[in-house]
């Protein structure tokens, strides 16, 4: 959108300086791509609020181990580091997919999305094996309030990644069948926002749950 100025004969006495960006008159609705991206940002914010409820719960229940194991005894930082590396790398390849979509290059797009998918699956596999291992050691979510909060917070992120995988495959199929139509481009934009937002949440999970949890 260009910020085309509309010339008005009289300046508006109700127009506060600094209230609107650069004092330019409002030019009407922007393009669909901007509106869609903006709406999706709002959704991501709401998702962050949901995660913050789970983070707050985790913080409250951190000490409530009910005589069971604490984070320090359970967390394996080496595994978590590998997990993190996979997820961050997948964000990088997702960025490459976005560039390929902008250039309307199908091969590179499918390649980059495919790698993103594999990295995401690797992340999920490590997380699943961690969960299975914890349950096998008698440290499942029903053992204590602390473990309930841990499984829910990390599992909620895992569910988001799984939903992202489903979305990713759908997008690949769509581009394969329909090409880079305008509405598909908008969906790719939203998917990329979603995938990167999951990274941001993971960094918070990594720091607050695993790093601080192993230290205490």
């Amino acid at each position: 959108m260009t910020d085309a100025t509309i010339a008005y004969p009289h300046s508006d006495p109700h127009h506060l300086r600094g209230m609107e960006a650069s004092g330019v008159e409002h030019a009407g609705p922007p393009s669909k791509r901007i509106v869609t991206g903006y709406g999706f940002w709002i959704f991501i914010l709401s998702d962050m609020v949901m995660f913050s409820a789970f983070f707050a719960t985790y913080a409250v229940l951190l000490g409530q181990t009910a005589g069971g194991p604490s984070g320090r005894e359970l967390f394996n930082l080496r595994n978590v580091a590998i997990e993190t590396a996979f997820l961050l790398a997948s964000s990088f390849t997702c960025g490459l997919a976005t560039i390929a979509a902008d250039l309307r290059h199908k091969t590179w797009f499918h390649l980059a999305m495919g790698v993103t998918c594999v990295f995401g699956l690797a992340f999920l596999a490590i997380e699943a094996s961690e969960f299975a291992d914890l349950v096998a050691r008698g440290a499942g979510p029903t053992r204590s309030a602390f473990l309930s909060a841990f499984f829910t917070l990390v599992g909620c992120h895992g569910l988001h990644v799984s939903a992202g995988e489903l979305w990713l495959l759908t997008m690949m199929a769509q581009v394969f069948a329909k090409g880079f139509r305008a509405d598909i481009q908008r969906r790719i934009l939203c998917f990329a926002l979603f995938w990167h937002a999951l990274d941001i949440i993971w960094i918070a999970v990594f720091t607050i749950v695993y790093l601080l949890g192993s230290a205490s």
């Binding site: 509309i6 008005y8 508006d12 109700h14 127009h15 506060l16 209230m19 609107e20 008159e25 409002h26 030019a27 009407g28 609705p29 922007p30 901007i34 509106v35 869609t36 903006y38 709406g39 709002i42 959704f43 914010l45 709401s46 998702d47 609020v49 949901m50 409820a53 789970f54 707050a56 719960t57 409250v60 229940l61 409530q64 181990t65 009910a66 979510p141 029903t142 053992r143 204590s144 309030a145 602390f146 309930s148 909060a149 499984f151 829910t152 489903l166 759908t170 769509q174 069948a177 329909k178 509405d183 969906r187």
Partner: protein
């Protein structure tokens, strides 16, 4: 195969729910039969059920709210009658049934009456006021509505199949945990709110994006009508608060379904965490409801006083202040938790501070009326009735915001009277004002004025006779939700409240009558100009009902009160005679996505309640497939040719010119 579901789930031995459900079922079947026999089904499917038009979706939201108001009102009637006769006796409702009724009453009134009513009005009006053709995401809008309807449906299914929660409108643990509520009642509550909560979140995102991004040329933030501002504040609160509800209920679900320990008494669970989380959503929720109502009053008071809104800037500031402070007062719902004097003092003071911007608004409305040429039409009556009633509710609110006073009044009928005072006197009166004010815009004819006034007076007097006695009984020590009692001093107040409720019901009856009579006499109540009240904002600049594209040419806004300015200019310069240049208009195609998706959500919700796991998978796959099919379609828009736009617009312009040329109208 069917999880916990068996024939014993149908309460054969309880006549009241069975008869009620039977009547409802007969009515639904009769309506369906009538619609099918008359051949309206294809029309309904094409024009309403699959519609993505914000006006149609808004009307469907309001219809849902009004139907649910009758359901919630029946619950209220049963509660009032029970408390009037259950003095030193068991009344006519056994405790387990009484508990379900007050839980269903609160749940339905908040989530399926107040919420859809205000969301419906925002949907209907905001795009028109902003001078645009639709909301930001039309299909998503339809999904949001149908998911809300799914939640309402599940709550009502619980009447016949199984039971509803007995835990109050907020399911406080540990009572709502599996140990103490082993039945499906709480599960009905949880899943219907999880599903309708998604619908509300979607509506919130949609409205925030619409207000912030979709405004016509020249419509800067400080030129938006007040209702758009309150919509923005309310939708921001939806986006920020509803995820907390989703997360909190999800935790309770995990406790109940998988034996987690968030809110249990054992293994380190923390009951008070539920209180904090649920009220961190719950308090913003009341502002989600009342802010749009404040916007409606602003529009109505200004229009019917024939003056601009007094203190527009301060009104904007007050709205946004309420939006922010509403997140800082949640602890006043449980001062008795024992957080200590300092914490209680901070939240008590914050609760009193939030009364300040509300007071600013009241003064602004009064000063808007001062010196104006006031017309006491029905919407204006609701607004004046609101101002008086809401001040009383606000004052008792400030009273319970004082922690020591709250220790005495906590969970008493005084509190019940307080929140009914602000929700009926604030939200419901506002919704009724908005309904009568914008009805001609939505349908092209006004509502019958005399019946509207009768409805107002019965509702107003009925409200006072019902709820003032509850204040008194609360001060005499009567706690809420009592199935029976033995204190003689409470009895007269309970009888008075029951009489008051009869008056309130007569008021509602007049409203139903008003709509029926108005439809029958629609030709004499017809509004041909699109501007029946001499309005000031852009929704009155188009015909009633507006064409599907709202505006033939998107208006160009030069100041506050956009339509008032256009009218004044037209009178002075006869500007509107110049011939506009019409262009093709692209509009989104209708789509059954919302309806089909909600169908699968209903299947999934029902299956989750009854632990029918294969059906859960079926519902999920169905919902996902629906979205993929939607994403796969090739044409998402259709074009209305310029010639057709011109034809529609010319007719309305002619009516409007005839009005503008009459002396003393604009």
């Amino acid at each position: 195969m069917l999880g916990k579901l068996s024939w014993s789930a149908i309460p054969i031995d309880q006549p009241i729910p069975l008869i009620a459900a039977g009547v409802v079922l007969v009515v639904i079947l009769a309506v369906l039969a009538w619609v099918t026999l008359k051949g309206y089904m294809p029309y309904l499917w094409r024009e309403w059920i699959t519609s993505v038009d914000h006006k149609r979706i808004g009307i469907m939201y309001i219809l849902l709210a009004m139907v649910m108001l009758l359901r919630g009102g029946s619950d209220a009637l049963m509660i009032r009658v029970q408390q009037a006769i259950a003095y030193q006796s068991n009344g006519y409702l056994p405790p387990e049934h009484f508990n379900q009724i007050f839980s269903a009453h609160g749940t339905i009134m908040i989530f399926f009456v107040a919420m859809p009513f205000v969301i419906g009005l925002m949907n209907l009006v905001v795009p028109l006021q902003l001078g645009v053709r639709d909301v930001a995401f039309p299909t998503l809008n339809s999904v949001g509505f149908w998911l809300t309807a799914t939640g309402a449906l599940l709550v009502n299914v619980s009447l016949v199949i199984g039971e509803f929660a007995r835990t109050g409108w907020l399911p406080f643990p540990p009572l709502s945990e599996l140990t103490y509520s082993p039945g499906v009642g709480v599960d009905y509550y949880l899943w219907s709110l999880e599903i309708s909560g998604v619908g509300t979140l979607v509506a919130g995102i949609n409205l925030v994006t619409t207000v912030l991004k979709l405004r016509t040329k020249g419509m800067t933030y400080l030129r938006m009508p007040m209702f758009c501002w309150t919509t923005l504040a309310s939708s921001l609160l939806m986006v920020a608060a509803f995820p907390i509800l989703t997360a909190t209920l999800a935790m309770l679900i995990l406790d109940r379904y998988f034996g987690f320990h968030f809110f249990t008494n054992e293994a380190g669970g923390n009951v008070m965490m539920f209180m904090n989380l649920i009220w961190a959503w719950g308090h913003p929720e009341v502002y989600i409801l009342v802010l749009p109502a404040f916007g409606i009053y602003s529009e109505v008071v200004s229009t019917f006083s024939s003056k601009s809104l007094f203190g527009y800037r301060s009104m904007v500031l007050a709205t946004m202040a309420i939006c922010i402070i509403s997140f800082m007062v949640w602890l006043h719902h449980f001062f008795t938790m024992g957080a200590g004097p300092n914490v209680n003092a901070i939240f008590g003071i914050a609760s009193m501070i939030i009364a300040v911007p509300t007071g600013v608004k009241i003064y602004n409305w009064l000063f808007t009326m001062y010196g104006g040429r006031i017309r006491f039409a029905t919407p204006m009556l609701w607004s004046v009735g609101f101002m008086v009633t809401f001040i009383i509710g606000g004052l008792t609110g400030v009273l319970v915001a004082v922690p020591p006073a709250d220790f005495l009044l906590h969970n008493s009928l005084f509190l019940v009277a307080h929140f009914h005072n602000v929700i009926i006197g604030g939200v419901l009166f506002g919704a009724f004002a908005g309904l009568t004010y914008w009805f001609p815009k939505a349908f092209g004819f006004r509502l019958h004025e005399g019946l509207g006034k009768a409805a107002f007076w019965f509702s107003l007097i009925g409200f006072y006779v019902t709820f003032m006695p509850l204040y008194a009984a609360g001060l005499l020590g009567m706690t809420r939700r009592m199935q029976h009692y033995d204190v003689p001093a409470w009895r007269p107040w309970m009888i008075a409240a029951a009489i008051g409720f009869v008056l309130l019901m007569i008021g509602i009856g007049f409203q139903v009558l008003q709509i029926v009579v108005s439809i029958l006499r629609r030709e004499e109540l017809r509004d041909r100009t699109g501007d029946p009240w001499d309005g000031r904002s852009l929704e009155w600049a188009t015909s009633s009902p507006p064409p599907v594209f709202n505006f033939a040419i998107l208006p160009d806004v030069h100041g506050e009160e956009a339509y008032w300015a256009i009218k004044s200019r037209a009178k002075q310069q006869e500007l509107e005679k110049n011939e506009p240049h019409y262009e093709d208009i692209e509009m989104p195609r209708n789509s059954p996505t919302g309806f089909v998706c909600a169908f699968f959500a209903t299947v999934m919700g029902f299956a989750l309640i009854w632990h029918i796991w294969w059906m859960v998978a079926l519902g999920f796959v169905g919902a996902f497939a629906t979205f993929v099919v939607f994403a796969w379609r090739d044409h998402d828009e259709y074009v209305i040719p310029a010639a057709e736009v011109e034809l529609i617009d010319r007719a309305n312009m002619a009516e409007r010119r005839a009005l503008a040329s009459q002396p003393g109208t604009a």
